[in-house]
Assembly symmetry: C2
Homo-oligomer: 171 residues x 2
């Protein structure tokens, strides 16, 4: 199945000059969505995955099914102020201003093998924040999985030394 | 499995007087999370579910796996400005100010049987907005599924006439 033709490109969203890649057509087609999860499971099924960590909110869409299939713990990375228990926080710069993510302090144990799952690898800021949070709690980042990599944005540069799996690459 | 003891109550979050029900312990325990999805699948497996619609962001955690298991289309209800394609919007009142959700206009077809999935039924405002959006697009709301109902908040009152399935009820 060629997933690369199943997204919908929305020009100038959320602002002029950005070609937004809408994944709704994949989610709305059960065969396509199933295929995404199947391919991710296939890549990780023989690896040791203790924890899957996903950033809100689109990361949850892929992280949750994958955690269930792999029998891994599912952990949320959320915007500041959303997680109710004790958290640690990591801020990062975006094009305009800063953004941040939090994780519960008991979400990851020392030595856990952690897979970070998100829908999109763009500039890599979110993924870098996810890595920092996982590592601060003593987790080992096994790999990062994405549905789409926007290769032309060079997000991979920020993730050097980490294993990356993605199903669609936009060069 | 008694899921009702698997959540974690956080007093005074997000503000004084609220006993917040943290579902992280369920998500972090693969057996518990699997059990939630199993029970939901069991309830809906012989019913016709064309579409599963979930509100961001915790709704995605349960809606996505359920859509995959039931072979249904998965549709996102998001905060205004997040969905890239043509949308319709429904605003509703919250304790302080108003909130709103949007859905893509092509997310649901006339006559589709739609299951709305969320983590929590509290006052019912989000669920009511979800119903309005689904029905505006011509969908039939088959049922609403939740992990937890805060029965003492009477959210069910707002959802009269609709089938409701939930795994945990706090009277």
């Amino acid at each position: 199945m060629d997933l690369s033709k199943k997204t919908r490109i929305i020009p100038d969203f959320p602002k002029k000059g950005i070609m937004f890649e809408d994944i709704s057509p994949i989610l709305q087609d059960p065969d396509s969505f199933e295929h995404v999860i199947f391919k991710m499971v296939d890549y990780y099924k023989d690896k040791k995955v203790d924890v899957i960590a996903s950033a809100e909110s689109r990361g949850f869409i892929f992280g949750a099914p994958l955690a269930l299939k792999l029998g891994a713990s599912f952990v949320l990375l959320r915007k500041p102020g959303k997680l109710p228990y004790k958290t640690i926080r990591h801020d990062f710069e975006k094009e305009y201003g800063t953004d941040g993510f939090e994780i519960h302090t008991d979400a990851i144990k020392q030595g856990d093998s952690v897979l970070i799952v998100d829908d999109l690898l763009a500039t890599g800021g979110t993924s870098q924040a996810a890595i920092k949070l996982v590592e601060k709690l003593g987790g080992n980042v096994l790999s990062l999985a994405f549905l789409i990599e926007l290769g032309y944005l060079n997000g991979k540069e920020k993730l050097k030394g980490y294993d990356i799996f993605r199903l669609i690459n936009r060069e």
